[in-house]
Symmetry: none
Subunit: 272 residues, 2 copies
């Protein structure tokens, strides 16, 4: 491994992404892109079926050229993992092996904690068609399986890399300032007491916007014309932030009608 | 919406995935596949650039045919969201709008909690090249932005759908058993993007209330007298839920003055 990588992660080493016998160059590129999205940099390829370098990989990487350029190729898995102290294997399903199983979130916490202590870690991903074989999995410390819909469980290779990277970036961000208790605010802790009404539908809100904006146009509030779109968006955003109920919308319809309409009538009355 | 969907989610409604002007059929297919991986079923398409149905979408869906077959197409965003009570907008970056910002994990908790209560929710995803425009975002309650490597932030459309689905499945799994402390490890990305303004002070709000309520008294909206206190409280509560900024208060002062004052002047003019 190039020496320079040792200094590239001030909060600790990032895991290496190890693609075992990947089939499509395109998927290698998509995986590299997903790595770049989440700050992973080290790509190791074991016997890529369609050879290396790969134009299709570079095109699919969509700008993650640094990862493609620095990718290292190995003839065997054993040759690629010698420097690692902790190795994970991603699988779509249990494999009948006695081995710890982690979610991507749990794996990411482990990887981030080990990386922060200077450990070199890696995550293996198998070939698109078959996944990792049992020999490869037997070289891993732990299995990583993402929670998926059991009736449609097949994540693609780049999707799996994406989820591991996504969780790793978040876990790294939480190192070393642990215990962020203020973020533990699940849905039951807060909420809106609807008091017998219900949330407004988008159709009801859109009708309110139309009513209000037409009145505001009529009285000249939404001027000059070039500022109108910004003003309209600001007003709509306020109603969305409010979390309006069906009753709220009726109240606002009444307010708008009263402020403008009754005056209009009064105006007419005074004028007649 | 087909009636059958009402019974398809025993733990509550799943969010609709709303693709606004998607460009590539292939990406619609990849998005459908990601939906299937995580148990999302309802796909709404707004003006897909390359038409619908799409062979490329079906091929890329890799077996998620049921989602492709059931996808509904709308000519405009407004037509697609009328039945929803809570709408999220995915963006890659802040947009200069005063709007709550959630991570995918936080958004998923909110979607799962609302779905469990029978609310219909949706998540919007913008066109591949540009993302959602500000008009679309202004129709949303909340913005969702995934934590990414700031130097390589561009998630693809299917990747973004994947992350929202991944988090939703986990959040749904945690309903109603709340308090999943292990998910409380997100980056400090959630909160309200104030975009250069600040929250209104209570004094500014009270001045707004006084102005609005005096105008509503004048035009007879707050009648009969015994109902006035309840009505006033309801209106004030809406402003508090909105989390009004100083700029919002000034906007509302202008709206109230324009709707009532200009009509009053017009009334006088017509009457004189």
């Amino acid at each position: 491994m190039p020496k320079s990588r040792a200094k590239s992660h001030p909060v600790g080493f990032a895991p290496a992404v190890i693609l075992v016998e990947p089939q499509l160059g395109e998927n290698i590129g998509f995986a590299a892109r997903a790595m770049a999205n989440f700050g992973l940099t080290e790509l190791r390829l074991i016997a890529p079926r369609d050879g290396w370098p790969s134009d299709r990989a570079r095109a699919a990487a969509a700008g993650a050229d640094a990862i493609i350029d620095a990718a290292t190729v190995y003839p065997s898995l054993e040759a690629a993992i010698g420097d690692l102290t902790f190795l994970l294997a991603t699988t779509a399903r249990p494999r009948g092996m006695v081995k710890p199983v982690l979610t991507p979130a749990g794996a990411a916490r482990d990887l981030a904690a080990r990386g922060a202590k200077g450990e070199r870690t890696g995550v293996m991903f198998g070939p698109e068609r078959s996944g990792l074989d049992n020999d490869a999995i037997s070289l891993a410390d732990t299995i990583v399986t993402a929670p998926v819909n059991p009736s449609f469980a097949a994540l693609s290779l780049p999707q799996t890399v994406l989820l591991v990277g996504y969780e790793w970036l978040q876990a790294r961000g939480s190192q070393p300032s642990l215990g962020r208790a203020t973020k533990c605010d699940g849905p039951a802790a807060e909420g809106l007491d609807l008091s017998g009404t219900r949330q407004a539908t988008r159709a009801e809100l859109l009708a309110l916007f139309k009513h209000l904006e037409s009145e505001l146009d009529r009285c000249g509030f939404l001027r000059p014309p070039e500022k109108r779109p910004t003003m309209v968006r600001a007003i709509r955003n306020m109603f969305h932030r409010m979390g309006a109920t069906e009753q709220d919308v009726r109240t606002w319809r009444g307010i708008v009608a009263s402020l403008s309409g009754s005056n209009r009538r009064k105006g007419k009355g005074e004028g007649s």
